[in-house]
Protein backbone atom coordinates (compact mmCIF):
# COMPACT_ATOMS: atom_id res chain seq x y z
CA UNK A 1 0.00 0.00 0.00
CA UNK A 2 2.74 2.42 0.99
CA UNK A 3 4.85 1.30 -1.93
CA UNK A 4 2.09 2.38 -4.31
CA UNK A 5 1.70 5.72 -2.63
CA UNK A 6 5.43 6.35 -2.82
CA UNK A 7 5.58 5.41 -6.48
CA UNK A 8 2.56 7.62 -7.13
CA UNK A 9 4.26 10.49 -5.42
CA UNK A 10 7.42 9.99 -7.47
CA UNK A 11 5.43 9.96 -10.69
CA UNK A 12 3.54 13.06 -9.67
CA UNK A 13 6.82 14.75 -8.89
CA UNK A 14 8.18 13.83 -12.30
CA UNK A 15 5.15 15.24 -14.04
CA UNK A 16 5.32 18.36 -11.93
CA UNK A 17 9.00 18.71 -12.73
CA UNK A 18 8.29 18.34 -16.42
CA UNK A 19 5.60 21.01 -16.20
CA UNK A 20 7.99 23.33 -14.39
CA UNK A 21 10.65 22.68 -16.99
CA UNK A 22 8.18 23.37 -19.80
CA UNK A 23 7.28 26.73 -18.38
CA UNK A 24 10.45 27.96 -16.81
CA UNK A 25 13.46 26.12 -18.16
CA UNK A 26 12.73 25.83 -21.84
CA UNK A 27 13.55 29.01 -23.72
CA UNK A 28 10.70 30.91 -25.26
CA UNK A 29 9.99 30.17 -28.84
CA UNK A 30 10.34 32.95 -31.37
CA UNK A 31 7.05 33.01 -33.17
CA UNK A 32 4.51 31.63 -30.75
CA UNK A 33 5.98 32.54 -27.39
CA UNK A 34 4.23 31.14 -24.35
CA UNK A 35 1.64 29.31 -26.38
CA UNK A 36 4.22 27.00 -27.83
CA UNK A 37 4.91 25.51 -24.40
CA UNK A 38 1.75 23.45 -24.62
CA UNK A 39 3.66 21.43 -27.20
CA UNK A 40 5.58 19.71 -24.40
CA UNK A 41 2.34 18.30 -23.04
CA UNK A 42 0.63 17.74 -26.32
CA UNK A 43 3.34 15.80 -28.10
CA UNK A 44 4.53 13.90 -25.02
CA UNK A 45 0.97 12.82 -24.27
CA UNK A 46 0.64 11.62 -27.86
CA UNK A 47 3.72 9.44 -27.55
CA UNK A 48 2.58 8.03 -24.21
CA UNK A 49 -0.85 7.28 -25.67
CA UNK A 50 0.65 5.44 -28.62
CA UNK A 51 2.87 3.41 -26.33
CA UNK A 52 -0.15 2.49 -24.24
CA UNK A 53 -1.95 1.29 -27.37
CA UNK A 54 1.07 -0.75 -28.32
CA UNK A 55 0.97 -2.39 -24.89
CA UNK A 56 -2.71 -3.10 -25.54
CA UNK A 57 -1.84 -4.71 -28.86
CA UNK A 58 0.74 -6.99 -27.27
CA UNK A 59 -1.65 -7.88 -24.44
CA UNK A 60 -4.32 -8.73 -27.02
CA UNK A 61 -1.98 -11.02 -28.92
CA UNK A 62 -0.84 -12.81 -25.78
CA UNK A 63 -4.42 -13.23 -24.62
CA UNK A 64 -5.47 -14.89 -27.87
CA UNK A 65 -2.49 -17.20 -27.52
CA UNK A 66 -2.63 -17.98 -23.77
CA UNK A 67 -6.23 -17.18 -22.71
CA UNK A 68 -5.16 -15.99 -19.27
CA UNK A 69 -7.37 -13.38 -17.67
CA UNK A 70 -4.53 -11.09 -16.66
CA UNK A 71 -3.72 -10.32 -20.28
CA UNK A 72 -7.29 -9.24 -20.83
CA UNK A 73 -7.01 -7.04 -17.73
CA UNK A 74 -3.83 -5.52 -19.13
CA UNK A 75 -5.54 -4.98 -22.47
CA UNK A 76 -8.47 -3.00 -21.12
CA UNK A 77 -6.24 -1.07 -18.71
CA UNK A 78 -3.80 0.06 -21.35
CA UNK A 79 -6.59 0.87 -23.81
CA UNK A 80 -8.34 3.11 -21.30
CA UNK A 81 -5.14 4.86 -20.25
CA UNK A 82 -4.13 5.28 -23.89
CA UNK A 83 -7.51 6.77 -24.64
CA UNK A 84 -7.14 9.20 -21.76
CA UNK A 85 -3.82 10.44 -23.11
CA UNK A 86 -5.17 10.73 -26.63
CA UNK A 87 -8.11 12.72 -25.28
CA UNK A 88 -5.58 15.12 -23.76
CA UNK A 89 -3.93 15.41 -27.17
CA UNK A 90 -7.24 16.17 -28.86
CA UNK A 91 -8.08 18.80 -26.27
CA UNK A 92 -4.69 20.54 -26.15
CA UNK A 93 -4.64 20.74 -29.93
CA UNK A 94 -7.59 23.13 -30.19
CA UNK A 95 -6.48 25.02 -27.10
CA UNK A 96 -3.33 25.87 -28.97
CA UNK A 97 -5.00 26.34 -32.32
CA UNK A 98 -7.55 28.95 -31.27
CA UNK A 99 -5.18 31.72 -30.25
CA UNK A 100 -2.65 30.71 -32.89
CA UNK A 101 -4.91 30.36 -35.88
CA UNK A 102 -8.23 31.72 -34.74
CA UNK A 103 -9.98 28.40 -35.19
CA UNK A 104 -10.37 25.50 -32.79
CA UNK A 105 -9.96 22.67 -35.18
CA UNK A 106 -7.85 22.33 -38.26
CA UNK A 107 -7.82 19.18 -40.29
CA UNK A 108 -4.12 18.82 -39.80
CA UNK A 109 -2.99 15.34 -40.85
CA UNK A 110 -1.75 14.30 -37.42
CA UNK A 111 -4.74 15.59 -35.54
CA UNK A 112 -7.15 13.95 -37.94
CA UNK A 113 -5.40 10.61 -37.68
CA UNK A 114 -5.38 10.96 -33.91
CA UNK A 115 -9.11 11.52 -33.97
CA UNK A 116 -9.65 8.33 -35.94
CA UNK A 117 -7.38 6.53 -33.51
CA UNK A 118 -9.51 7.83 -30.67
CA UNK A 119 -12.67 6.56 -32.41
CA UNK A 120 -11.13 3.13 -32.92
CA UNK A 121 -10.37 2.67 -29.25
CA UNK A 122 -13.69 4.12 -28.16
CA UNK A 123 -15.22 1.38 -30.29
CA UNK A 124 -12.99 -1.13 -28.51
CA UNK A 125 -14.36 0.00 -25.15
CA UNK A 126 -17.93 0.07 -26.41
CA UNK A 127 -17.60 -3.43 -27.79
CA UNK A 128 -16.58 -4.67 -24.38
CA UNK A 129 -19.66 -3.22 -22.73
CA UNK A 130 -21.86 -5.06 -25.21
CA UNK A 131 -20.60 -8.58 -24.51
CA UNK A 132 -21.56 -10.05 -21.17
CA UNK A 133 -19.80 -13.35 -20.99
CA UNK A 134 -16.27 -12.57 -19.74
CA UNK A 135 -14.34 -15.09 -21.83
CA UNK A 136 -16.17 -14.16 -25.00
CA UNK A 137 -15.69 -10.48 -24.23
CA UNK A 138 -12.00 -10.95 -23.68
CA UNK A 139 -11.47 -12.94 -26.87
CA UNK A 140 -13.59 -10.83 -29.20
CA UNK A 141 -12.28 -7.51 -27.94
CA UNK A 142 -8.73 -8.82 -28.18
CA UNK A 143 -9.35 -9.74 -31.81
CA UNK A 144 -10.86 -6.35 -32.55
CA UNK A 145 -7.95 -4.71 -30.75
CA UNK A 146 -5.54 -6.55 -33.00
CA UNK A 147 -7.35 -5.45 -36.16
CA UNK A 148 -7.59 -1.90 -34.84
CA UNK A 149 -3.89 -1.64 -34.08
CA UNK A 150 -2.92 -3.05 -37.46
CA UNK A 151 -5.09 -0.34 -38.95
CA UNK A 152 -3.37 2.49 -37.07
CA UNK A 153 -0.29 2.88 -39.27
CA UNK A 154 -2.50 2.50 -42.33
CA UNK A 155 -4.77 5.31 -41.14
CA UNK A 156 -1.84 7.60 -40.39
CA UNK A 157 -0.29 6.72 -43.73
CA UNK A 158 -3.42 7.37 -45.76
CA UNK A 159 -4.24 10.66 -44.12
CA UNK A 160 -0.71 11.89 -44.30
CA UNK A 161 -0.31 10.95 -47.94
CA UNK A 162 -3.43 12.65 -49.16
CA UNK A 163 -4.62 15.13 -46.63
CA UNK A 164 -1.37 17.05 -46.54
CA UNK A 165 -1.98 18.06 -50.11
CA UNK A 166 -4.67 20.28 -48.71
CA UNK A 167 -3.55 23.57 -47.28
CA UNK A 168 -3.86 23.19 -43.55
CA UNK A 169 -1.81 24.77 -40.85
CA UNK A 170 0.57 22.31 -39.34
CA UNK A 171 -0.17 22.29 -35.65
CA UNK A 172 3.32 22.22 -34.31
CA UNK A 173 6.76 21.53 -35.55
CA UNK A 174 7.61 17.91 -35.11
CA UNK A 175 9.63 16.96 -32.09
CA UNK A 176 13.24 17.67 -32.63
CA UNK A 177 12.60 19.53 -35.86
CA UNK A 178 15.44 21.96 -35.52
CA UNK A 179 14.68 22.53 -31.88
CA UNK A 180 17.04 24.32 -29.60
CA UNK A 181 19.04 21.73 -27.52
CA UNK A 182 17.48 22.86 -24.24
CA UNK A 183 14.06 22.51 -25.78
CA UNK A 184 14.99 19.01 -26.88
CA UNK A 185 16.04 18.05 -23.37
CA UNK A 186 12.85 19.46 -21.87
CA UNK A 187 10.87 17.62 -24.46
CA UNK A 188 12.44 14.27 -23.80
CA UNK A 189 12.05 14.80 -20.09
CA UNK A 190 8.36 15.48 -20.71
CA UNK A 191 8.10 12.29 -22.68
CA UNK A 192 9.73 10.39 -19.86
CA UNK A 193 7.40 11.90 -17.28
CA UNK A 194 4.35 11.11 -19.40
CA UNK A 195 5.46 7.54 -19.84
CA UNK A 196 6.02 7.18 -16.12
CA UNK A 197 2.50 8.48 -15.55
CA UNK A 198 1.18 6.11 -18.18
CA UNK A 199 2.81 3.07 -16.55
CA UNK A 200 1.56 4.09 -13.13
CA UNK A 201 -2.00 4.60 -14.37
CA UNK A 202 -2.02 1.29 -16.22
CA UNK A 203 -0.78 -0.50 -13.12
CA UNK A 204 -3.46 1.07 -10.96
CA UNK A 205 -6.19 0.38 -13.50
CA UNK A 206 -4.96 -3.20 -13.84
CA UNK A 207 -5.24 -3.68 -10.12
CA UNK A 208 -8.75 -2.30 -10.21
CA UNK A 209 -9.65 -4.61 -13.08
CA UNK A 210 -8.45 -7.69 -11.23
CA UNK A 211 -10.51 -6.67 -8.21
CA UNK A 212 -13.52 -6.09 -10.40
CA UNK A 213 -13.31 -9.43 -12.17
CA UNK A 214 -12.76 -11.33 -8.93
CA UNK A 215 -15.85 -9.64 -7.58
CA UNK A 216 -17.70 -10.57 -10.75
CA UNK A 217 -16.86 -14.24 -10.24
CA UNK A 218 -18.10 -14.20 -6.66
CA UNK A 219 -21.27 -12.40 -7.65
CA UNK A 220 -22.06 -14.90 -10.39
CA UNK A 221 -21.48 -17.84 -8.09
CA UNK A 222 -23.74 -16.26 -5.50
CA UNK A 223 -26.46 -15.70 -8.08
CA UNK A 224 -26.26 -19.30 -9.19
CA UNK A 225 -27.09 -20.58 -5.75
Amino acid sequence: MWKRAVIGAVVLFLVGAAAYASFFIAPEEKTMHVLQRIFYFHAAAAWAGMTAFFVCFVANLVYVWRREERWDALGISSAEVGLAFITVVLITGPIWAKPAWGIYWTWDARLTSTFVLWLLYISYLLLRTLIEEPDRRALLSALFGIFAFIDVPIVFGAIRWWRTQHPAPVIMGGPGSGLDPTMNKVFFFSVLAMHALMVFLIAERYRLEKLRSDFEVVRREAEAI
Binding site: E132, E133, P134, D135, V218, R219, R220, E221
Partner: protein, 234 residues
Amino acid sequence: MTPPAFSPVGLRLENIDKRYGGLLALRGVSLVIAPGECVVFAGRNGSGKTTLLRIAARLVRPSRGTLSFSRESQAGEDHAIRPGFVAHATMVYDELTAEENLLLFARLQEVAQPERRVDTLLNEVGLSDRRGSLVRTFSRGMRQRVAIARALLHEPSVLLLDEPATGLDPQGVAWLAEEIRRLRDSGRTMLMSLHGESEISSLGTRAIRLDSGSITADTRTGATFRSILTFADA
Protein backbone atom coordinates in the same frame (compact mmCIF):
# COMPACT_ATOMS: atom_id res chain seq x y z
CA MET B 1 -25.07 -58.19 -35.98
CA THR B 2 -22.74 -57.75 -38.94
CA PRO B 3 -19.22 -56.65 -38.12
CA PRO B 4 -18.72 -52.95 -38.91
CA ALA B 5 -17.13 -51.91 -42.18
CA PHE B 6 -14.98 -49.47 -40.25
CA SER B 7 -12.87 -49.81 -37.15
CA PRO B 8 -14.91 -48.71 -34.13
CA VAL B 9 -13.77 -45.61 -32.31
CA GLY B 10 -13.36 -44.93 -28.63
CA LEU B 11 -13.17 -41.59 -26.82
CA ARG B 12 -11.20 -40.39 -23.89
CA LEU B 13 -11.92 -37.21 -21.97
CA GLU B 14 -9.39 -36.22 -19.39
CA ASN B 15 -10.06 -33.64 -16.69
CA ILE B 16 -12.32 -31.49 -18.79
CA ASP B 17 -13.31 -28.12 -17.36
CA LYS B 18 -15.48 -25.62 -19.15
CA ARG B 19 -15.88 -22.24 -17.64
CA TYR B 20 -18.41 -19.63 -18.64
CA GLY B 21 -17.73 -16.44 -16.75
CA GLY B 22 -17.10 -17.51 -13.21
CA LEU B 23 -19.16 -20.65 -13.46
CA LEU B 24 -17.94 -24.11 -14.29
CA ALA B 25 -20.36 -25.81 -16.66
CA LEU B 26 -18.15 -28.87 -16.50
CA ARG B 27 -15.70 -29.65 -13.74
CA GLY B 28 -13.00 -32.26 -13.87
CA VAL B 29 -14.89 -34.60 -16.18
CA SER B 30 -12.87 -37.68 -17.00
CA LEU B 31 -14.38 -40.43 -19.07
CA VAL B 32 -13.32 -43.36 -21.21
CA ILE B 33 -15.84 -44.57 -23.74
CA ALA B 34 -15.14 -47.90 -25.36
CA PRO B 35 -15.54 -48.42 -29.10
CA GLY B 36 -19.12 -49.31 -29.97
CA GLU B 37 -20.64 -48.23 -26.67
CA CYS B 38 -23.97 -46.51 -26.71
CA VAL B 39 -23.89 -44.11 -23.77
CA VAL B 40 -26.90 -42.27 -22.45
CA PHE B 41 -26.28 -39.07 -20.51
CA ALA B 42 -28.97 -38.01 -18.10
CA GLY B 43 -29.21 -34.96 -15.92
CA ARG B 44 -31.20 -31.86 -15.25
CA ASN B 45 -31.11 -28.78 -17.43
CA GLY B 46 -27.83 -27.03 -16.90
CA SER B 47 -26.05 -30.14 -15.72
CA GLY B 48 -23.58 -29.87 -18.57
CA LYS B 49 -24.86 -32.51 -21.00
CA THR B 50 -25.00 -30.21 -23.99
CA THR B 51 -21.63 -28.69 -23.19
CA LEU B 52 -20.10 -32.14 -22.94
CA LEU B 53 -21.47 -33.20 -26.30
CA ARG B 54 -20.39 -29.97 -27.97
CA ILE B 55 -16.90 -30.47 -26.62
CA ALA B 56 -16.89 -34.01 -27.98
CA ALA B 57 -18.01 -32.56 -31.32
CA ARG B 58 -15.05 -30.18 -31.14
CA LEU B 59 -17.36 -27.19 -31.42
CA VAL B 60 -16.53 -25.94 -27.98
CA ARG B 61 -12.99 -25.59 -26.72
CA PRO B 62 -12.58 -26.80 -23.14
CA SER B 63 -11.07 -24.38 -20.63
CA ARG B 64 -8.90 -27.23 -19.44
CA GLY B 65 -8.33 -30.89 -20.18
CA THR B 66 -8.06 -32.98 -23.30
CA LEU B 67 -10.25 -34.95 -25.65
CA SER B 68 -8.97 -37.72 -27.87
CA PHE B 69 -10.39 -40.31 -30.23
CA SER B 70 -8.76 -43.61 -31.09
CA ARG B 71 -9.56 -46.44 -33.43
CA GLU B 72 -9.67 -50.00 -32.22
CA SER B 73 -7.45 -51.09 -35.08
CA GLN B 74 -4.60 -48.70 -34.50
CA ALA B 75 -2.64 -47.52 -31.51
CA GLY B 76 -2.49 -43.88 -30.53
CA GLU B 77 -4.78 -40.99 -31.19
CA ASP B 78 -6.64 -40.51 -34.44
CA HIS B 79 -6.92 -36.83 -35.23
CA ALA B 80 -9.01 -37.32 -38.33
CA ILE B 81 -12.13 -38.54 -36.55
CA ARG B 82 -15.06 -36.25 -37.12
CA PRO B 83 -18.15 -37.15 -35.11
CA GLY B 84 -21.63 -36.73 -36.53
CA PHE B 85 -23.63 -34.30 -34.44
CA VAL B 86 -27.37 -33.94 -34.07
CA ALA B 87 -28.23 -31.02 -31.83
CA HIS B 88 -31.41 -29.47 -30.62
CA ALA B 89 -31.13 -26.93 -33.45
CA THR B 90 -31.46 -28.53 -36.85
CA MET B 91 -28.28 -27.00 -38.28
CA VAL B 92 -29.70 -26.86 -41.78
CA TYR B 93 -30.67 -23.91 -43.95
CA ASP B 94 -34.38 -23.13 -44.01
CA GLU B 95 -34.08 -21.31 -47.30
CA LEU B 96 -32.59 -24.28 -49.15
CA THR B 97 -34.29 -27.54 -50.09
CA ALA B 98 -33.57 -30.78 -48.26
CA GLU B 99 -31.54 -31.98 -51.21
CA GLU B 100 -29.59 -28.72 -51.53
CA ASN B 101 -28.75 -28.78 -47.86
CA LEU B 102 -27.47 -32.33 -47.94
CA LEU B 103 -25.51 -31.79 -51.14
CA LEU B 104 -23.89 -28.72 -49.62
CA PHE B 105 -22.66 -30.55 -46.57
CA ALA B 106 -21.71 -33.64 -48.54
CA ARG B 107 -19.52 -31.59 -50.86
CA LEU B 108 -17.96 -29.66 -47.99
CA GLN B 109 -16.99 -32.86 -46.29
CA GLU B 110 -15.67 -34.19 -49.58
CA VAL B 111 -17.89 -37.24 -49.46
CA ALA B 112 -17.32 -39.60 -52.39
CA GLN B 113 -20.08 -39.46 -55.01
CA PRO B 114 -22.10 -36.90 -53.12
CA GLU B 115 -25.26 -37.09 -55.24
CA ARG B 116 -25.46 -40.85 -54.74
CA ARG B 117 -24.89 -40.56 -51.01
CA VAL B 118 -27.53 -37.85 -50.63
CA ASP B 119 -29.96 -40.00 -52.58
CA THR B 120 -29.32 -42.97 -50.30
CA LEU B 121 -29.78 -40.93 -47.15
CA LEU B 122 -32.93 -39.22 -48.34
CA ASN B 123 -34.36 -42.68 -48.92
CA GLU B 124 -33.17 -43.90 -45.56
CA VAL B 125 -34.81 -41.09 -43.65
CA GLY B 126 -37.94 -41.28 -45.78
CA LEU B 127 -37.72 -37.81 -47.33
CA SER B 128 -37.17 -38.74 -50.94
CA ASP B 129 -40.46 -37.33 -52.07
CA ARG B 130 -39.85 -34.02 -50.30
CA ARG B 131 -36.28 -33.56 -51.45
CA GLY B 132 -37.11 -30.54 -53.56
CA SER B 133 -39.04 -28.68 -50.87
CA LEU B 134 -37.58 -25.90 -48.81
CA VAL B 135 -36.79 -26.99 -45.29
CA ARG B 136 -38.76 -24.00 -44.10
CA THR B 137 -41.92 -25.89 -45.05
CA PHE B 138 -41.04 -28.98 -43.02
CA SER B 139 -42.54 -30.08 -39.74
CA ARG B 140 -40.34 -30.53 -36.70
CA GLY B 141 -40.19 -34.27 -37.27
CA MET B 142 -39.13 -33.87 -40.88
CA ARG B 143 -36.48 -31.32 -39.95
CA GLN B 144 -35.09 -33.75 -37.44
CA ARG B 145 -34.80 -36.32 -40.20
CA VAL B 146 -32.88 -33.88 -42.38
CA ALA B 147 -30.63 -33.15 -39.41
CA ILE B 148 -29.92 -36.83 -38.92
CA ALA B 149 -29.26 -37.32 -42.61
CA ARG B 150 -26.83 -34.40 -42.47
CA ALA B 151 -25.02 -35.94 -39.52
CA LEU B 152 -24.66 -39.26 -41.32
CA LEU B 153 -23.36 -37.94 -44.64
CA HIS B 154 -19.73 -38.74 -43.99
CA GLU B 155 -20.50 -42.09 -42.38
CA PRO B 156 -19.16 -41.12 -38.97
CA SER B 157 -17.87 -43.75 -36.59
CA VAL B 158 -18.99 -41.61 -33.67
CA LEU B 159 -22.43 -40.11 -33.35
CA LEU B 160 -23.44 -37.45 -30.84
CA LEU B 161 -27.10 -36.76 -30.23
CA ASP B 162 -28.29 -33.95 -27.99
CA GLU B 163 -31.88 -34.57 -26.89
CA PRO B 164 -32.79 -35.81 -30.36
CA ALA B 165 -36.40 -36.66 -29.54
CA THR B 166 -37.37 -33.13 -28.54
CA GLY B 167 -40.49 -31.99 -30.34
CA LEU B 168 -41.14 -35.32 -32.02
CA ASP B 169 -44.54 -36.96 -31.92
CA PRO B 170 -44.82 -40.65 -30.85
CA GLN B 171 -44.48 -41.78 -34.45
CA GLY B 172 -41.37 -39.70 -34.84
CA VAL B 173 -39.91 -41.06 -31.64
CA ALA B 174 -40.56 -44.62 -32.79
CA TRP B 175 -38.83 -43.94 -36.09
CA LEU B 176 -35.89 -42.31 -34.32
CA ALA B 177 -35.55 -45.24 -31.93
CA GLU B 178 -35.37 -47.61 -34.87
CA GLU B 179 -32.71 -45.47 -36.57
CA ILE B 180 -30.63 -45.33 -33.41
CA ARG B 181 -30.93 -49.06 -32.91
CA ARG B 182 -29.73 -49.64 -36.44
CA LEU B 183 -26.80 -47.27 -36.03
CA ARG B 184 -25.86 -48.77 -32.70
CA ASP B 185 -25.96 -52.28 -34.07
CA SER B 186 -23.70 -51.29 -36.94
CA GLY B 187 -20.91 -50.67 -34.44
CA ARG B 188 -20.98 -46.92 -34.15
CA THR B 189 -20.02 -45.35 -30.86
CA MET B 190 -22.89 -43.22 -29.68
CA LEU B 191 -23.33 -40.57 -27.04
CA MET B 192 -26.84 -39.37 -26.38
CA SER B 193 -28.16 -36.87 -23.93
CA LEU B 194 -31.69 -37.57 -22.86
CA HIS B 195 -34.27 -36.30 -20.48
CA GLY B 196 -35.64 -39.41 -18.95
CA GLU B 197 -36.76 -42.93 -19.68
CA SER B 198 -38.10 -43.65 -23.12
CA GLU B 199 -37.89 -46.01 -26.06
CA ILE B 200 -34.60 -44.34 -26.88
CA SER B 201 -32.96 -44.52 -23.50
CA SER B 202 -33.49 -48.28 -23.41
CA LEU B 203 -31.17 -48.58 -26.41
CA GLY B 204 -28.20 -47.48 -24.36
CA THR B 205 -25.54 -49.93 -23.24
CA ARG B 206 -24.34 -47.57 -20.52
CA ALA B 207 -25.78 -44.65 -18.63
CA ILE B 208 -24.01 -41.72 -16.98
CA ARG B 209 -25.51 -39.09 -14.75
CA LEU B 210 -24.32 -35.51 -14.70
CA ASP B 211 -25.07 -33.06 -11.92
CA SER B 212 -23.81 -29.49 -11.96
CA GLY B 213 -21.02 -30.36 -14.33
CA SER B 214 -19.71 -33.50 -12.66
CA ILE B 215 -20.31 -37.19 -13.21
CA THR B 216 -22.27 -38.47 -10.24
CA ALA B 217 -23.22 -41.95 -11.37
CA ASP B 218 -22.15 -44.46 -14.00
CA THR B 219 -23.61 -47.86 -14.81
CA ARG B 220 -20.08 -49.02 -15.35
CA THR B 221 -19.34 -48.44 -11.71
CA GLY B 222 -22.41 -50.09 -10.33
CA ALA B 223 -25.34 -47.68 -10.58
CA THR B 224 -28.49 -48.96 -12.22
CA PHE B 225 -29.86 -47.66 -15.49
CA ARG B 226 -33.17 -46.83 -13.94
CA SER B 227 -31.76 -44.85 -11.06
CA ILE B 228 -29.71 -42.70 -13.39
CA LEU B 229 -32.53 -42.01 -15.78
CA THR B 230 -35.19 -41.20 -13.25
CA PHE B 231 -33.06 -38.68 -11.36
CA ALA B 232 -33.57 -40.53 -8.12
CA ASP B 233 -32.22 -38.22 -5.49
CA ALA B 234 -29.38 -40.00 -3.78
